[in-house]
């Protein structure tokens, strides 16, 4: 069967089971958009290529399947660089197809030419410049294989226009060998010796903590984690990337560790004698000052990526594996720590002394942002997916939403990409149309990518957006208040400019505003009753609210600052 390269590209995506592509056409990718008309694949036409990338990420985080985005060369390609970098930091499986100028024009500074494989070399797991139509199936199959195996990540496939226009005899790789990846070995057999060495450490542990990272979600190990945690009785903390990997309602769950983590989660790690890292990478937002991090803990480090071992913290036992396989092996050996009664008494005392708190909701004045998040959560259907941007609102969403299952928390962790929320929520909803999707956003973030609500309306993707509008770049404001002597530099945004309600309406969404508690409850109820178009609520929140607990950048986790109301008892 003779196909054009463009037809082969679309057919290859179909072979990989792709159901939706987020993209925006342009000159160099034009040939590929023609056979797309005849394909079963849904295309979501974005308004900016950054939106396509974040939608693909949101899709991947909510479904566990790779997200796919397709854009043109030059500025189309550079506009998607931020999502690629974001996916790289968060190990999100992504396949990005970029058009490229014709082979003969490469290197001539042709119209809309850019070296996107060069630009993304350091922020992709791998990338390809396809040199012949015959190679398209192999490149696409390899891209999906690389993006989804081992430690997942973004893979870019750059396809010159003459390649998509030329003819090829259709074929598709039937085995991994045909992908021609002699240097790619994403998995290894579980090292039984190391599994047993880890068990010896577990047996001696009196104060263990299960430090659960995003790798636990990536390896679909939630069930194994629950079984292991319940059998051993160990306390669990879930990092920002692992929210939903372990139910927040579970009594053994201490919550999120790190800079804005729960007091009990942070301190339990600090006082632990055994830290069992499951797909986490000792990020600086979790460790604080590294020499002061969990100083008395032995470390078992489980990761599929062995480059994470000893990168930040030396491991006593490092096991290269997916998380699920190790937990199953430990369970098979009935690995048990010491009696944890004393440990739990200490932990429970911390939990009781320093729960998550905020000032009482204010009936007249501006809303407490934490109360808004809690109120949305309380009124939300079970299984609601939450996306967020980056900043204070993100931390409040992570702190005050109760996550019960994997794939319900969609956020930008390692890169901290403002503007992630709206498009990521759209991608999540496109992948899980059966679920309610809320985007908890900030006013700063919303302004970065709000245009994608036009996409959401046009494509029939009815997400709900809660803007915690405090009229500031709030996290920066918090740092300026606390560490720069209240000298506020370039952080004020105004609550009224833009008019978020009018803006939402102009984009075909329902726009609502809530300035007090009564309006807040009414707006949430209205939003929950609308399921055909996107809804945006402008919640007017108190800009003086800060995220607590907090460990200052570079400080030891021992110096965690709790909410001012709790300080006297600290």
């Amino acid at each position: 069967m003779q196909l054009t390269g463009a037809q082969a590209l679309i057919k290859s995506l179909e072979m990989e089971g792709v159901e939706v592509v987020f993209g925006l056409p342009g000159g160099a990718i034009l040939p590929v958009y023609d056979p797309l008309i005849d394909s079963s694949i849904r295309h979501v036409l974005v308004r900016h290529e950054q939106g396509a990338g974040h939608m693909a990420e949101g899709y991947a985080l909510a479904t566990g399947r790779p997200g796919v985005a397709m854009v043109t060369s030059g500025p189309g390609a550079t506009n998607i660089v931020t999502p690629i970098g974001n996916a790289h930091m968060d190990s999100t499986p992504l396949v990005v197809i970029t058009g490229q100028v014709a082979t003969a024009a490469i290197g001539t500074d042709a119209f809309q030419e850019c070296d996107i494989t060069g630009i993304t070399m350091g922020i992709t797991k791998h990338n390809f410049l396809v040199k012949s139509a015959h190679e398209i199936p192999r490149a696409v199959a390899a891209a999906f294989h690389i993006a989804t195996t081992g430690r997942p990540g973004p893979v870019l496939v750059d396809v010159p226009k003459d390649i998509t226009q030329s003819m090829m005899e259709w074929w598709y790789p039937e085995s991994i060998e045909e992908l021609d990846l002699p240097g790619y070995h994403p998995t290894v057999d579980l090292d039984a010796d190391r599994v047993n060495q880890a068990i010896e450490l577990i047996k001696d542990a009196e104060r263990p903590v299960l430090y659960v990272g995003g790798g636990t979600l990536k390896s679909h190990a939630s069930a194994q984690l629950l079984a292991f945690a319940e059998r051993t009785g160990m306390p669990v903390v879930t990092t920002l990337m692992a929210r939903g990997a372990f139910p927040d309602s579970h009594p053994q769950h201490l919550g999120m560790p790190g800079m804005h983590g729960m007091y009990s989660a942070v301190i339990a790690i600090q006082k632990s004698d055994l830290l069992i890292s499951l797909g986490a990478r000792f990020d600086d937002r979790v460790t604080g000052k590294i020499p002061a991090f969990a100083p008395n803990a032995k470390v078992i480090h489980v990761d599929i990526d062995k480059a994470e071992f000893n990168k930040v913290r030396r491991a006593d036992v490092a096991i290269r594996s997916n998380v699920a396989a190790v937990l199953e092996a430990w369970d098979a050996e009935r690995a048990m720590p010491q009696n944890l009664e004393v440990w739990w008494k200490e932990i429970d005392a911390w939990r009781e002394a320093y729960p998550l708190v905020y000032d009482e909701p204010n009936d007249d004045g501006l809303l407490r942002p934490q109360f808004v998040v809690e109120s949305i959560a309380k009124a939300a259907a079970p299984g609601t997916i939450v996306a967020s941007g980056v900043g204070q609102h993100q931390m409040w969403a992570s702190q005050f939403w109760k996550f019960e299952e994997p794939g319900t928390w969609v956020n930008s962790g390692g890169a901290g990409t403002m503007g992630f929320g709206v498009p990521a929520a759209i991608g999540a909803k496109a992948g899980r149309p059966d679920r309610v999707v809320w985007c908890i956003d900030g006013d700063g973030c919303f302004q970065m990518t709000a245009q994608e609500l036009v996409t959401a309306r046009a494509e029939g993707i009815p997400i709900k957006v809660a803007i915690l509008n405090n009229a500031y770049l709030g996290m920066v404001r918090q740092w300026q208040e606390m560490f720069y002597d209240e000298r506020y530099s370039e952080v004020y945004l105004s609550p009224d400019l833009p008019d978020y309600v009018k803006w939402a309406e102009a984009m075909g969404c329902v726009g609502l505003r809530a300035t007090n508690v009564a309006e807040m409850h009414a707006a949430i109820a209205t939003a929950n009753s609308i399921n055909d178009v996107p809804v945006v609520i402008d919640f007017r929140t108190d800009s003086s609210e800060k995220v607590f607990p907090m460990v200052a950048a570079g400080a030891s986790n021992d110096d965690i600052m709790v909410h001012p109301r709790q300080r006297e008892s600290q």
Binding site: T117, G118, M121, G122, K125, H126, L129, I146, L181, P182, G183, Y184, D305, K306, A307, F309, N310, K311
Partner: protein, 184 residues
């Protein structure tokens, strides 16, 4: 990539804790950029680098990299390199187990007064004359980095018009750390 200063003093500036990585890569466009880019963005220092097709198959090349094991733990450098999809095999050769060789080419300004003494230097160092004209001589030495250093020092007594060194290539000594086989 951090080039030591001055450029020509590659060997004499090689730190005590250097390691030689022999990296088998797929012979594809852009692979050298991937390797060099990784060193740059992770802050690993390269002291010298040599690339050529490997022994058996045209689809692989070998990159010999002398790395500064003080700029980052060697384990991190190796593991990050291993994550590059086009990197097929890496072997780390400790300096004491390595057979290291380099090629030096130099063009020296000559006259009737110094030509004889230069020929003595060439003879005693094991170098060879590869080109001659009325005013200059081009000589070549293939030898250990130390021998190349020594010749460079001897040449300080002459006017060097141009001097190039290749950066070293290395194999493990027989019976020492074996190179990892290339998968088919």
């Amino acid at each position: 990539m951090n080039t030591p200063e001055p450029f020509l003093g590659v060997t004499s500036h090689t730190p005590v804790r250097h390691h030689i990585l022999s990296v088998m890569v797929e012979n594809k466009a852009g692979v050298l950029a991937r390797v060099a880019g990784l060193f740059a963005r992770r802050g690993f220092n390269i002291y010298s680098l040599a690339v050529a097709p490997a022994e058996t198959k045209a689809r692989f090349s070998r990159i010999t990299i002398v790395v500064d094991a003080e700029s980052a733990p060697l384990e991190q450098i190796v593991e990050q390199l291993d994550k590059l999809v086009n990197v097929v095999a890496i072997s780390d050769i400790a300096p004491k187990d390595a057979l290291e060789r380099e090629l030096l080419l130099a063009t020296i300004k000559t006259n009737v007064d110094n030509r004889t003494s230069l020929l003595d230097v060439v003879g005693s160092s094991g170098a060879a004359i590869v080109d001659v004209d009325a005013k200059s001589v081009t000589l070549m030495l293939a030898g250990t980095p130390a021998a190349c250093d020594e010749l460079e020092r001897e040449l300080e007594n002459y006017t060097t018009l141009e001097l190039h060194r290749t950066g070293r290539v290395a194999l493990p000594r027989l019976g020492k750390a074996a190179l990892i086989a290339i998968p088919d």
